[in-house]
Amino acid sequence: MPQYFPPNSNAFAKWSIIGGLIFFTLLLTCLAIYVRSYRNRVNVPVSQPIPFSHALHAGELGVDCRYCHTSVEVAASANIPPVETCMTCHSQIRQGSPRLYPLYASWDQAIPGVNDTASLEAGTNAPAPNSERLEWNRVHDLADFVYFNHSAHINKGVGCSSCHGEVNRMEGMWKNEQMSMGWCLECHKAPEKHVRPIDEVFNANYKKPTNQIALGKQLVEEYHINTDKLPQCSTCHR
C-alpha cells in the first residue's frame, strides 16, 4: 500500500499544532494590550485647540490646581475654567499671540488690536469677539454610568497625581492611567496603599514615603475612610 502523506508531514503536523497554540496565545495578548492601553488612549496626548501647557502653568509658574479647577473640592467634576479665568492674565500677557486666537475668538469683549474690528480691517487674521466657542477635547472620559466624584477623593487624601500623574511635567495632556474598573478597585480595595496627607493632595511631585502602608493605615483611620463602603458597586454606579 502506498503512503498517502510524505515523510515530512509528521513534522508539519506536530509543528502546526505547537505553532497554532503559540500564535493563538500571542494574538490574545496583543489584543488585550491594544484594547487596554492604546484604544483606551493611555499615554496618548489629546490635541487641543490651544496648545495649553500644564508644564508651564502648573509647573514653571506654579499656579495651584484650584486656581482654574475651582469646583474640585466641592463638586463631582473638576471644572474646566471659564474663558474669563484665562483672560485674567492673557488680556495682558502674550496678548495677540496667534496660538491664543481661539481664546480671543470666544471672549465676549473686543480687545484693541487683538480681536476688535480695527485689527480686522488692518488685515491681521484676528477673529472677531464671540465669533466661535472655545471647544476643548475631553481627555478623561469615564463611562456614562460611572459617577466619579472629585471632592470625595480630594477631601480624603487622594492626590491629583495619584490618578493624573505628574501634570506639572506634561506639555500636552493625556490619560496617565488605564482608569478601568479594575484599576479603580486596586485603591478602593486597599486605600492605605495610596492615601496621602491632605496637605499633600495638590502636590504633583509627591512621592510615596517608604512607610506608605503604615502611614496609609493611620490616615485611613484619621480621615474616617469607610473601607466597607469603598469597594461596593453603589459607590460608583447608580
Binding site: 488612549r41 463631582a76 474663558v83 471672549w107 471647544e135 456614562d144 471632592s151 461596593q232 453603589s234 459607590t235
Partner: protein, 1044 residues
C-alpha cells in the same frame, strides 16, 4: 464649563452597544441650552434666538425618530387594527423596519458577539465647552432649587424646581406653601414633561398658517370693536389687574371665565345658605368625625394636598394609645377618599341630597320624607358621632348647590363652624358662576355682540358643555385669538393661535386655595418661543411689556413700602407672599335653606362625570407619564372606561371590555365598560379628558369623549340609558387580580388590617398583623450592617392610592414610558406601583392600597441567581442593581416574590438628542434595552448625602435623605431613613406592633415594611373587618408571636 452628566446621559448608554458616536457637538450644544439659561435672565435676545434655532434644527433632524417612538405610544391606525386581532401578542410588537441607528446597533452587536466589540468601536471624542463668564451661583454638577408655583385650575400649588445648569429637571413640593405643604401631586410633577413636550405649538398661527409675533401684534393694534376675554379660573392678581386694565381701556370689553372643574356649586350653595359668595375651608386636624357627601377631598380640588395631610395626620396609629378620626362616606363612585372611609356607602349622586336632608332632619333641621336604604344603625351611629364629637360635613363639588347649603346648615347645627370649618372670601380674582358665564359668552357670540374673542389658557371647543356648541358659536366671531400651550381643538378653529409659555418658562403669580399668593418664576427661557398671557394682554394696552415688567410693576405698587428688592428676593426665595391668606369670615346660615323644594334621585341608570384622575379634564392628555400611570383601583392605562357596578354588570350581562352605547337625550356615545367594585349600583362613571382630536401625538384619539353627553345644567350627573353592543374594546390594566377572597389569594396575608378596637384589645400582639407564626431559622450567620441601614415603612392606613409617588419616581429616575401595546403584554416600567386589593363584598368592599417597590430584602432571592453579579448588596444593606453589569438573564425577576423588577425588553429610553433628553436627571443612569432595573431607594440621593456628609466629616442626619416617592406623598405614608439610628423616624415607626413584612415567611427579611391598615368603625357598627388574619384564633397566634 459643562462636564455635565446630562451630556453623558444624552449620549445614552454608549456601552450598551447602541451607536451614538455621532454628533458629540449636538449633545454639547443641547447642554448649552440648559447652561446658557440662567434664572437671572440677563441673556441677550440673541442667545435665546440661538436656542430656538437649535430646537428647530433638532426637531427636523431628530424629529422623525422621535415621532416614531411616539407613534408606538399613541394609538395609530395600525395599532387600532392590531387591537382587533384575536391574539394581539401573536404578532410581533409594532416596530418600523431597521433604520440606520438600529443597523449600527445590529452591526455593533454582531461584532460584539464575535467578542471584538472592545477593539472595533473607538471612544468618540467628547467636547468640553467652558463658560465665557461663569455665573457664580452655579457649581457644575450641583443642582439649584428655585421656589415657584404651578397652577391647577387656576389655583397655585407651590413647587421647588430642581435646576441643573439652567435646565429644570424635576418638581418637588414647597413646604412653605399651603397648597403644597411640601407634597406634590402626579399632575404637577408631570408639568415638567409638559414643558419639554415637543408637541407644544412652536409658532404663531394665523388661520392655521404660520405667522409671527410681530404681525400678530400688528393685527392686535389694528383691532377694534367689542373685545371679549375668556379665561379659566383666574387667581393671579397681576393677570386680573391686567385684564381690568384692558376692560377699562377698551369700551365694551367683557371678561368671561370657564373651567370644566369649577366651584359653581360651592358658590351657588353659599348663595343659598348665606346669601353671599363665600367658600368653606375645613380643618381636618380638628375633626374627630367627618361626613363626606360625595366629596373626594383628599384627591381633588385645590386644597387636596392640605386636606389629605391634615386628615391623615389624625389617622396615624402606631401604638394602642393612639386615636384616630372616623370618616363616614356616601359616594357614587369609588374615590381615594372613599377608600379611606371607615363607613362607606355607595349611593347614586342624585340620592345624596335626600340623604343629606335625612341627616339634617336627624340633627333637628327641617324635615324629610326621603329614606335612603341604609344598613341598620348606620344613621343612628352617624348622628350619634356627629352630635357628640368635633365633626364636620363636607359636600362634594359635583353635588348640587342645595347639598352644600344643607351641609352648611348641619355644620352650623353641630357647632362645627369656627372649629372644623371656617368660611372665607373666594381666592378667585373674580368669583362667578362659570356655567352661566360661558352661557352668556356663547349667547353674545351667537348674537354677534363680540368682534374679538381672546381665549387664554382655555380649550372651550373641547371642554365647554356640549349643548352650548361653542365651536359653532366661534364662527360668529370675526377675530378669535387663542393663547395656549398646544395647537388644540380651539386653536385650530381660531383665526389666531399664539403659543403660550409654560409656567416654568414665564413670570406670573397665583393664589392658593386659601388665598396665599405665590410668585411664579421661570426656570428657562421659553424653549418653544411661547408668550405669557400678560404679554399678550399688554398688546391690547398698546405696550410691549414683558411678563417680568408687568409682574414687577404690579408688585412694586402692591408691596407695602420697605425696600422692594429685599421684599422681592424674600418672596422669590420662599415662593410665597407672607400674610396673603384670606381671613375667616363670620357667616350665619339662613333658616330658609330647607324651604327649597327637595329633588329626588331618579332610580334609573345615572351617569356621573368626573375629570380623569390622572390627566384631569384634558390638560394633561398629551402627557405620556400620566397616560401610562395606572388609574387608582382600576389600574387602567391609556384609556378611559365606563365604570359600572358588579350588580349592574350582572343585570345587563356585561363583562369588562364589552362596549356599551350610552344615550342621554339625543346624544349617545360608545364606551367600553369596566366593572368597578364599590360603584353605586346604577351609577356609571365617565371620565373626561379623553377622545381628544388635537391634543398631540400622545393624546390624540385615545379613549372616548364623555363631554359629548355633558350639558350645562347637567354638568356632573344625569340619568341615561344604555344598550349593550357586540363590540369589544381592549382596555389595558396593569393588575388583573385583586379580590382578596378569590381562589388562592385569601390565605397569603398579602395586605393586613384590622380595626382600632382590635388593636387596642391586643396592643402588644395584634393577631391580624402576624396571622402566621414565623420562625426565622437560618443555616448561615447573617451579615452585620453596623453602618447605615436604609429602610422604609409604608403606612397603609393613610395611603389613599393617589399615585403621586409613582410619577415622582418616574421623574426622578428617568423611567421610560412604553406605550399601550407594551403595557398590554405586561412590560410597564414604573419602579413603584400601587397595588389595589378589595376585601369583603364586591358591592361595597374594603379598599386596600399597597405601594410596592423593591423591598431591598437583606436575604434577597434575586441576588444569588444572577450569574453576572449585577445585583448585589452594599454595605448599607441596599439591594443594588448595577445596570452596566447586567446581561439580562431575567432570572432575578423570576426569583423575586414581589415582582418589582422591570426589564427593558426593547429600547424604551429615548436615546435621541431631542428636547425630551433635557428632561433626564443627570444623576441617574439611562438604561438601555436588555437591562434589568428596579427601585434603588433613590441611591443617587443617598450617595449625594453620603459624599456631602463625608466631605464635612460628619454622619448623615435623619431627613438628609428623602426619596422621591416620600417627598411627593401627600399623606406622608412613606417613611424612609436609617433603621440603625435609634432616633430616626423610620426606626421608631418600625417598632410599631403594626409593622409587618410582605411575605416575611419566605425569610427574605425585607427592608421595606408595612403598617397594617387600621380602620375605626363605630362600635355599634363594628363588623370586625380584619384582613390577613386567619379565620379563627388570631389572638393565639399573637400569643405565639409573643412566645419567641
Amino acid at each position: 464649563m459643562n462636564i455635565d452628566k446630562s451630556r453623558e446621559i444624552l449620549s445614552g448608554a454608549r456601552e450598551f452597544g447602541s451607536d451614538l458616536s455621532s454628533s458629540a457637538e449636538e449633545k454639547f450644544e443641547l447642554t448649552v441650552i440648559g447652561v446658557a439659561e440662567e434664572p437671572e435672565f440677563d441673556n441677550t435676545a440673541e442667545s435665546v434666538q440661538v436656542i430656538r434655532e437649535r430646537l428647530a434644527e433638532l426637531d427636523q433632524s431628530e424629529g422623525k425618530t422621535y415621532w416614531r417612538s411616539l407613534e408606538e405610544l399613541s394609538e395609530t391606525e395600525e395599532f387600532q387594527a392590531y387591537l382587533e386581532q384575536e391574539f394581539p401578542r401573536q404578532s410581533a410588537p409594532l416596530e418600523s423596519g431597521l433604520d440606520r441607528r438600529e443597523f449600527m446597533k445590529l452591526l455593533g452587536a454582531s461584532l460584539a458577539l464575535g467578542g471584538l466589540t472592545a477593539c472595533v468601536r473607538p471612544n468618540p471624542q467628547e467636547k468640553i465647552v467652558p463658560y465665557v463668564r461663569a455665573p457664580e451661583e452655579i457649581i457644575p454638577g450641583k443642582p439649584i432649587m428655585y421656589a415657584s408655583a404651578i397652577t391647577q385650575n387656576g389655583y397655585a400649588q407651590g413647587v421647588l424646581v430642581e435646576n441643573h445648569n439652567g435646565r429644570p429637571t424635576r418638581l418637588e413640593g414647597n413646604p412653605s406653601q399651603p397648597g403644597s405643604m411640601g407634597s406634590i401631586d402626579a399632575q404637577t410633577t408631570a408639568e415638567i414633561l409638559r414643558m419639554y413636550d415637543p408637541d407644544r405649538s412652536k409658532e404663531v398661527l394665523q388661520g392655521g398658517s404660520s405667522s409671527d409675533w410681530d404681525s400678530f401684534s400688528e393685527a392686535v393694534s389694528s383691532l377694534d370693536g367689542n373685545i371679549a376675554i375668556l379665561t379659566g379660573t383666574v387667581t393671579s392678581p397681576t393677570l386680573a389687574s391686567k385684564i381690568d386694565a384692558v376692560l377699562n381701556a377698551r369700551s365694551g370689553a367683557k371678561w368671561y371665565q370657564y373651567s370644566p372643574q369649577n366651584a359653581d356649586n360651592v358658590l351657588a350653595g353659599s348663595e343659598i345658605a348665606f346669601g353671599s359668595w363665600i367658600v368653606p375651608q375645613y380643618n381636618f386636624e380638628e375633626a374627630d368625625i367627618v361626613l363626606s357627601l360625595d366629596a373626594d377631598f383628599v384627591n381633588s380640588g385645590p386644597a387636596k394636598l392640605k386636606y389629605a395631610r391634615a386628615f391623615s395626620d389624625r389617622r396615624r396609629v402606631r401604638t394602642g394609645e393612639d386615636t384616630m378620626n372616623r370618616l363616614y362616606m356616601v359616594e357614587s363612585t369609588p374615590t381615594s377618599t372613599g377608600a379611606m372611609a371607615d363607613h362607606r356607602l355607595p349611593m347614586a349622586a342624585s340620592a345624596v341630597e335626600g340623604f343629606a336632608r335625612e341627616v339634617a332632619a336627624a340633627v333637628g333641621l327641617g324635615s324629610t320624607d326621603s329614606h335612603a336604604a341604609l344598613p341598620d344603625g348606620w344613621m343612628d351611629a352617624l348622628v350619634d358621632d356627629l352630635t357628640n364629637h368635633a365633626s364636620v360635613v363636607v359636600a362634594g363639588d359635583e353635588q348640587p348647590p342645595i347639598v352644600h347649603a344643607i351641609a352648611a346648615a348641619i355644620n352650623e347645627a353641630i357647632g362645627a363652624v369656627g372649629r372644623t370649618v371656617t368660611y372665607h372670601k373666594p381666592a378667585m380674582a373674580k368669583p362667578e358662576i362659570q356655567s352661566e358665564s360661558i352661557k352668556f359668552l356663547v349667547d353674545d357670540m351667537n348674537s354677534g355682540k363680540i368682534d374679538t374673542l381672546v381665549m387664554i389658557d382655555s380649550n372651550p371647543v373641547y371642554d365647554a358643555p356640549a349643548d352650548l356648541d361653542f365651536a359653532a358659536a366661534l364662527d360668529n366671531v370675526a377675530t378669535s385669538i387663542h393663547l395656549g400651550l398646544y395647537n388644540d381643538e380651539t386653536a385650530v378653529r381660531s383665526s389666531w393661535h399664539v403659543p403660550q409659555a409654560n409656567e416654568l418658562e414665564s413670570w406670573g403669580d397665583a393664589r392658593a386655595f386659601d388665598g396665599t399668593i405665590s410668585i411664579i418664576q421661570p426656570q428657562i427661557q421659553p424653549i418653544y418661543g411661547g408668550k405669557s398671557p400678560l404679554e399678550v394682554l399688554s398688546l391690547f394696552l398698546g405696550t410691549a411689556d414683558t411678563a417680568y415688567d408687568s409682574i414687577r410693576a404690579f408688585w412694586q405698587s402692591a408691596a407695602s413700602g420697605g425696600d422692594f428688592n429685599l421684599f422681592w428676593n424674600h418672596v422669590l426665595y420662599n415662593g410665597v407672599v407672607d400674610d396673603t391668606a384670606s381671613a375667616p369670615m363670620r357667616a350665619r346660615a339662613k333658616s330658609t335653606i330647607f324651604d327649597e323644594p327637595a329633588s329626588h334621585g331618579a332610580d334609573g341608570i345615572e351617569i356621573v362625570f368626573r375629570p380623569d384622575p390622572n390627566i384631569g379634564s384634558g390638560k394633561y392628555s398629551n402627557s405620556s407619564w400620566l397616560q401610562e400611570l395606572p388609574k387608582p383601583f382600576t389600574k387602567l392605562t391609556w384609556d378611559n372606561a365606563a365604570l359600572i357596578s358588579p350588580k349592574l354588570a350582572e343585570a345587563e350581562g356585561l363583562k369588562s371590555k364589552d362596549v356599551i352605547n350610552i344615550t342621554v337625550g339625543d346624544k349617545s356615545i360608545d364606551a367600553p365598560v369596566w366593572i368597578m367594585p364599590g360603584q353605586a349600583e346604577k351609577t356609571i362613571t365617565l371620565h373626561t379628558g379623553y377622545g381628544r382630536t388635537n391634543a398631540g401625538k400622545v393624546g390624540n384619539g385615545i379613549g372616548f369623549d364623555a363631554n359629548v353627553l355633558r350639558t350645562n345644567e347637567h354638568a356632573h350627573f344625569v340619568s341615561a340609558s344604555i344598550t349593550k353592543t357586540r363590540k369589544k374594546y381592549k382596555l389595558v390594566s396593569t393588575q388583573l387580580h385583586g379580590i382578596l377572597e378569590s381562589d388562592g389569594i385569601g390565605d397569603r396575608h398579602i395586605t393586613r388590617g384590622g380595626t382600632l378596637a382590635d388593636f387596642q384589645a391586643h396592643p402588644e400582639h395584634p393577631g391580624f398583623v402576624h396571622p402566621v407564626a414565623h420562625h426565622a431559622s437560618d443555616l448561615y450567620d447573617d451579615f452585620e450592617y453596623d453602618g447605615y441601614a436604609w429602610g422604609m415603612v409604608v403606612d397603609q392606613t393613610v395611603c389613599n392610592g393617589c399615585n403621586a409617588c409613582i410619577t415622582a419616581c418616574q421623574s426622578e429616575n428617568n423611567i421610560p414610558v412604553v406605550g399601550k401595546d407594551q403595557v398590554a403584554v405586561g412590560r410597564e416600567m414604573q419602579w413603584l406601583r400601587v397595588d389595589a386589593y378589595y376585601g369583603g363584598s364586591v358591592d361595597n368592599p374594603e379598599f386596600f392600597s399597597q405601594p410596592v417597590a423593591c423591598m431591598h430584602c437583606e436575604k434577597a432571592p434575586c441576588e444569588p441567581v444572577c450569574p453576572f453579579g449585577a445585583t448585589v448588596h452594599d454595605a448599607d444593606g441596599l439591594n443594588v442593581m448595577v445596570y452596566n453589569r447586567c446581561g439580562g438573564t431575567r432570572y432575578c425577576s423570576n426569583n423575586c416574590p414581589y415582582k418589582v423588577r422591570r426589564f427593558n425588553f426593547l429600547q424604551y429610553a429615548e436615546l435621541e438628542e431631542n428636547a425630551m433628553a433635557l428632561l433626564q436627571n443627570p444623576d441617574v443612569t439611562v438604561r438601555s434595552r436588555g437591562v434589568m432595573e428596579k427601585c434603588t431607594y433613590c441611591i443617587q440621593r443617598i450617595q449625594q448625602a453620603y459624599i456631602t456628609s463625608e466631605n464635612e466629616d460628619r454622619t448623615i442626619a435623619d431627613g438628609d435623605v428623602v426619596t422621591a416617592c416620600q417627598s411627593a406623598c401627600p399623606t406622608q405614608a412613606i417613611v424612609f431613613g436609617d433603621i440603625n439610628d435609634e432616633n430616626s423616624e423610620v426606626a421608631k415607626v418600625r417598632k410599631s406592633k403594626l409593622n409587618y413584612g410582605l411575605f416575611e415567611e419566605l425569610n427574605t427579611v425585607p427592608r421595606t415594611t408595612y403598617l397594617a391598615r387600621i380602620t375605626n368603625p363605630h362600635p355599634s357598627l363594628a363588623v370586625a373587618s380584619s384582613y390577613g388574619s386567619d379565620s379563627h384564633g388570631s389572638d393565639t397566634h399573637g400569643a405565639e408571636e409573643g412566645g419567641h
